[in-house]
Symmetry: C2
Subunit: 191 residues, 2 copies
């Protein structure tokens, strides 16, 4: 039995993942090499490959952790600002997004990753799908819990506005996009 010990949860592993995450998000995945990541993390390529096995798996780890952290942030924000079911709880997702994106102006990490990985068999693609699936299901659930009929449909519509707002704000540069999406959601949910 010589199972490969590839545990990323070590100090150096954390530093690598932190560094890689920042660089991947800011500059893009293909634009960032493993040499740079190792350097910036104050470690070596050897350690990087010992911890993550390949750049592809490091990318997948980046996407997975980013999804987890966003969901944590979002869940916490909802619990804090709109704990009761209702339309406001749906709209609060946009507030969380706006707050989250205040300092992250490079758009949706998963959409960006799809731009670079889509159409390949990269392990990150599954993470991308998962995140989108989660957000859609969340919207449907929140609309349903608000007691609004046709939750499946209206949740989907809210989700489209959510995705559209991120694109419009970042790639399009429309500063009011989050507010616009929030307003459109309100109209759809209270019609």
């Amino acid at each position: 039995m010589k199972t490969i010990t590839r545990n990323p949860n070590t100090p150096a592993g954390e530093r690598i993942l932190d560094t890689a995450s920042a660089l991947f998000y800011e500059r893009g995945i293909r634009a960032v090499g493993v040499d740079l990541i190792a350097d910036e993390a104050g470690t070596t390529k050897k350690t990087l490959y010992d911890r993550f096995g390949s750049k592809d798996e490091l990318v997948a780890a980046y996407l997975t952790r980013r999804a987890d952290r966003w969901i944590d942030f979002l869940t916490d924000h909802l619990e804090r600002h709109a704990p009761e079911p209702g339309p406001e709880r749906v709209l609060a997702v946009m507030d969380a997004l706006e707050e989250r994106m205040r300092e992250q102006d490079r758009g949706c990490a998963f959409v960006n990753a799809y731009a670079e990985l889509g159409g390949t068999d990269h392990p990150g693609n599954a993470v991308i799908r998962e995140d989108k699936r989660y957000m859609r299901d969340l919207f449907v659930r929140l609309v349903d819990e608000a007691g609004i009929p046709d939750a499946q449909v209206l949740g989907a519509h809210a989700h489209l506005l959510y995705e559209g707002a991120i694109v419009a704000k970042t790639a399009g540069g429309f500063e009011g996009a989050y507010g616009e999406a929030r307003a459109a959601m309100a109209r759809l949910l209270t019609a």
Copy 2:
């Protein structure tokens, strides 16, 4: 006077741009090298650089032409299927999109390009902004011409649904996204 003659409108220049466009869209910009482009176009790097000056400018040319062709396609589609002002003419944009995207499953070329170029001073960024601006203005104009009040706001909402649908369909894999966006638009416009 030694003005650089850099005219891309030559047979080889066209072949290069055709090839580059297909490869950039399908695989991503950074994933495609100039060697490959020249090879696939049946020409040489020398000619590529004589015609376009740099990879960056070739990328900008790719984006510019893609925007032009989409606008041509869209304009023609609207003229053909919904020549009269009204809500249907707004919704017809989604029909055009769905038809256009039937064989192009790699999403919005401009969003994808933003994922790779955003945050830099790449000449393609201006083209990306221009395209998004055009689509928003188009939606506002179509809503206005339909005689619907609050065109600025409702046009923006329609635009968000349009952008969200592309992301949801491609990165998210939600097959019904275009139809959903169309339905949501109809609700917003006839409320």
